[in-house]
């Protein structure tokens, strides 16, 4: 049962990736501009011959289908192609940067799930002023766009107080932790607030439910009631919204990486799209789609396991 579900999701993933790759390739294909001129940009006007040479070398004049086919078949041989602007293999470029992006996303995910769930649970259990405070803070956080949050964090924590570096990705675990704290906060803020709010209402709903009332009536200690009955039952919606949040981070990375000067695949995507560096954009679009759909699939499967009431067929 679960395997059939997983296989079907994998097939969907492949289909989505294929459609996305055609769309991305097509969009860059029809957009005006000549990437070769950017490559030789500046200085003197390049000779026709030089441009023609670059066009031939990177197959820039291929018709759409031939170009796309060339890319697809190379992909099956494990070749992501050559970057036009970096004059390097795409696999190498992505490999260099993927670690930073994954670290950033994982860091933000921990913040979102850890802090979001903790805040939401606390607000729901405590009630009163605590709840009001959490609601006000999270509502504010949800309203602040990621790039504004980035600017605020940089201004406060690195320029004013000098607590964290203003840019860069750092090296090693400790270096990355230090450099990526502010970016992860900026990336996590909106989703953290969202998860906190969902958690709060889910926990509230469980607290008011009949089985919790019954458990309390039976004199089961409050600590156990909260853990065994409230949190366990609230975990499915919390997990599924957290999953959506983490998948959403992949898309949000580009903004934060640009703002904090992080050498990740989000920033690479933005820069390469501007330069019409087809091979890089293609590869990154594909990776994003696979990651996005992959995370969603894992979330669906785990949610289904957490809550046996969710029918697997319907969620597929």
């Amino acid at each position: 049962m679960i395997w059939r579900f997983v296989v079907r999701r994998a097939a969907m993933l492949a289909a989505t990736a294929l459609v996305a790759s055609v769309a991305v390739y097509g969009a860059l294909f029809v957009s005006p501009g000549d990437p070769a001129t950017l490559l030789v940009g500046g200085g003197k006007p390049p000779s026709e011959r030089l441009l023609a040479d670059i066009h031939r070398q990177y197959h820039l004049d291929d018709p759409f289908l031939r170009g796309y086919w060339r890319w697809l078949t190379a992909l099956f041989h494990g070749d992501l192609g050559q970057s036009l602007s970096y004059r390097d293999s795409v696999a190498h470029l992505v490999g260099d940067r993927l670690g930073n992006t994954l670290f950033l996303v994982a860091f933000a995910a921990v913040l979102i799930i850890g802090a979001g769930v903790a805040l939401g649970t606390l607000a729901a259990l405590r009630g009163g002023w605590g709840e009001t405070a959490v609601t006000v803070v999270t509502t504010t956080l949800m309203a602040v766009p990621t790039f504004v949050m980035s600017v605020l964090l940089i201004w406060g924590f690195s320029v004013r107080w000098g607590l964290f570096p203003a840019y860069g990705s750092g090296s090693g675990f400790a270096g990355r932790l230090e450099h990526l704290t502010l970016p992860a906060l900026a990336l996590a803020a909106t989703w953290l607030a969202y998860v906190a709010q969902v958690t709060r209402s889910a926990v509230r709903a469980e607290l008011a439910s009949e089985h919790v009332q019954t458990a309390r009536g039976r004199g089961i200690p409050e600590r156990l009631v909260v853990r065994k009955h409230v949190l366990r039952n609230a975990s499915a919606p919390i997990f599924s919204v957290s999953g959506v949040a983490v998948a959403g981070l992949i898309a949000g990375c580009a903004i934060v990486e640009q703002a904090f000067g992080i050498n990740g695949i989000g920033a690479l995507l933005v820069q390469s799209a501007a330069k019409q560096d087809l091979a890089v954009v293609q590869a990154l679009a594909l990776i994003s789609v696979v990651l996005f759909v992959g995370v969603n699939t894992v979330v669906d499967v785990v949610s289904a396991l957490l809550d046996r009431r969710t029918p697997l067929e319907a969620s597929a």
Binding site: S31, P32, G33, D34, P35, T37, L38, L39, V40, G41, G42, G43, K44, P45, P46, S47, R49, L50, L51, D53, I54, S85, Y86, R87, D88, L93, D96, R97, V151, I154, W155, S158, V159, G162, P165, A166, Y167, G168, S169, Q258, A259, F260, G261, N263, A267, L268, Q271, A274, K275, Q276
Partner: protein, 550 residues
């Protein structure tokens, strides 16, 4: 995002701190502007372990001097690879790897090379390396941006161990001046041959004689160089042990990184960051004379702006003082022509150029009535002008918005079209990408200390940059004569005669000459503040001031 460099040359004889005489002659503005121009920052003292520098235009695509012709790659490569002739902060020239040169006849140039110069690996530089460095730029596989410079060259030969002789089809006054940039940079012949197409990339590396050695290039992250302790020019042996370049293109991030001291300095500080950085305690913002120029050019013969009267009308409604104040944050100079005067201010024939410049009509003040009259007189078929700018280029967008508002008064409508970087860079060379456009705003700079290359590129009927099919035979013949003579006085005279003519009928609107903006952490000093940095080993001059931490 900047438009492609149009290789303009703006040279000035600026000794040290000169106030505003750089880019043009508008006296009244000079009085109003309180900006002091500095050619160079105060001389530096002690050794510094590490300097982190930013390249605000992004990561270079290559450091191969043969392919370098843009802000970022030039800023790095000029510290790594020495050219045959060196550019000085005042835009004058001095001997580099060539100590002297003679012209035994008008079609021959003999370069005498410096002795005792060694590459980073310790091997001596010889005439063979110079020949190889120049010759490889003719080979299409090198993809050099300097192919045109070699078009008139017949042979390049090593005539002695330390002597190279270049022969030309016709006399060529510009060749020698092109030697100041990547075109004249010398690499080790055997290394270049072995590296092939990867020379100058993260993988292939470089082998030059410059004050810094390229050690590491982590693509997307940083470029690192360490000092060459055996550098031939003892006065320029670097005080910085390690130099790291970063590629922050976001204005806000750059400002924060400079203000928190994480980045030590940067050239080409954007005007939006300048406001915040001026008040920084972490370092100082310097303004220097520049060879950069911003202008509006017609992009097709059918553009209403191809009629000089429309170009004049646009020029007449533009309030340049307000523009300089609001868009350029005061750090720009009005100018009479599209070639900044820094280009020739240090020339041997500077008096001739200066006289020619003085004779040009003054920059017009805003005069809507006169502009309207010109538009009525020209009676263009279309009254809508579509003007291109690079998406994200705030400075150009603001300038065009100014123009848009002003032209309403004279019955013209300006439509601003923001283009993606590849489309913007492509339109300079591909007529198909200029379709539907009437004009473009451009930021260019003149790399070599001679105004001729730029005037020629714009006005020659055969030039790919002559988009309006401009043709004035007298202009062309004066420019040809200037290129063919090796007498600087005569070349200057021919140029100024051409300039006097095209100043009247060539459809272009010079807007302003932006100053160079340099931010430097207070712990450092010594670097030039002039735009000449782009082609000189500027980082070899950095040293400590003994102030500041980090």
């Amino acid at each position: 995002m900047h438009a492609p460099r149009l290789t303009v040359i703006c040279v000035t004889t600026l000794a040290t701190a000169l106030t505003l005489a750089s880019c043009s002659s508008s006296g009244p503005t000079a009085a109003k502007n309180a900006i002091d121009l500095t050619t160079t920052t105060p001389a530096a003292g002690g050794t510094v372990d590490h300097v982190t520098w930013n390249l605000p235009m992004g990561e270079p695509t290559t450091l191969d001097p043969a392919k370098v012709g843009d802000y970022s790659p030039s800023t790095v490569a000029s510290n790594l690879c020495d050219p045959l002739i060196r550019l000085k902060p005042d835009y004058s020239t001095a001997p580099g790897l060539a100590t002297s040169w003679q012209r035994p006849d008008p079609k021959t140039l003999v370069l005498n090379l410096r002795r005792g110069v060694r590459f980073w690996d310790g091997s001596p530089m010889t005439a063979a390396d110079v020949v190889a460095s120049l010759e490889r730029q003719r080979v299409p596989a090198t993809q050099s941006v300097n192919v045109q410079v070699l078009a008139n060259v017949t042979t390049i030969k090593a005539t002695e161990d330390h002597q190279v002789t270049v022969r030309f089809r016709t006399p060529d006054s510009l060749f020698l001046k092109y030697l100041v940039n990547g075109f004249g940079a010398v690499g080790k012949a055997s290394y270049m041959k072995k590296a092939g197409a990867s020379y100058g990339t993260a993988r292939g590396g470089l082998m030059c004689t410059g004050p810094f050695k390229l050690t590491k290039w982590r693509s997307g992250d940083s470029i690192t160089a360490v000092r060459n302790t055996a550098y031939w020019d003892r006065s320029l042996r670097p005080k910085v042990k390690e130099l790291t370049f970063r590629f922050i293109t976001d204005n806000g991030t750059l400002t924060s990184a400079l203000m928190s001291g994480q980045i030590d300095g940067s050239y080409e500080i954007p005007s939006t960051s300048a406001k915040a950085l001026r008040g920084s305690k972490e370092g100082r913002l310097y303004y220097g004379p520049s060879a950069q120029t911003v202008f509006l050019g017609a992009t097709s013969p059918t553009s209403p702006m191809a009629d000089r009267r429309i170009a004049d009308a646009l020029s007449l409604v533009l309030d340049r003082d307000a523009l300089v104040k609001n868009v350029f944050d005061g750090a720009a100079q009005r100018q009479k022509t599209f070639i900044p005067s820094l280009v020739w201010k240090s020339s041997e024939a500077k008096d001739v150029y200066a006289k020619g410049y003085a004779a040009l009509p003054a920059v017009p003040g805003p005069d809507a009535a006169k502009a309207k009259k010109l538009v009525d007189e020209a009676a263009p078929k279309r009254r809508t002008l579509t003007i291109a700018t690079a998406a994200g280029d705030q400075q150009s967008l603001q300038t065009l918005t100014f123009l848009q508002a002003a032209t309403k008064k004279i019955g013209l409508k300006v439509v601003i079209r923001q283009l993606q970087p590849t489309q913007m860079s492509g339109l300079f060379f591909n007529p198909a990408l200029r379709k539907g456009l009437d004009a473009t705003i451009a930021l260019g700079y003149v790399e070599i200390p001679d105004p001729l290359s730029y005037a020629d590129m714009m006005t020659d009927p055969k030039s790919p940059m002559n988009w309006t099919n401009y043709r004035n035979n007298k202009v062309t013949s004066h420019i040809r004569a200037a290129k063919a003579t090796t007498d600087p006085q005569r070349a200057a005279r021919e140029f100024t005669e051409a300039q006097a003519l095209y100043a009247k009928d060539f459809p272009i609107v010079p807007i302003a000459c932006p100053y160079e903006r340099l931010f430097l952490n207070k712990r450092l000093s010594g670097v030039p503040a002039s735009f000449a940095y782009i082609n000189m080993p500027w980082a070899a001059r950095i040293g400590g001031t003994g102030r500041g931490s980090s």
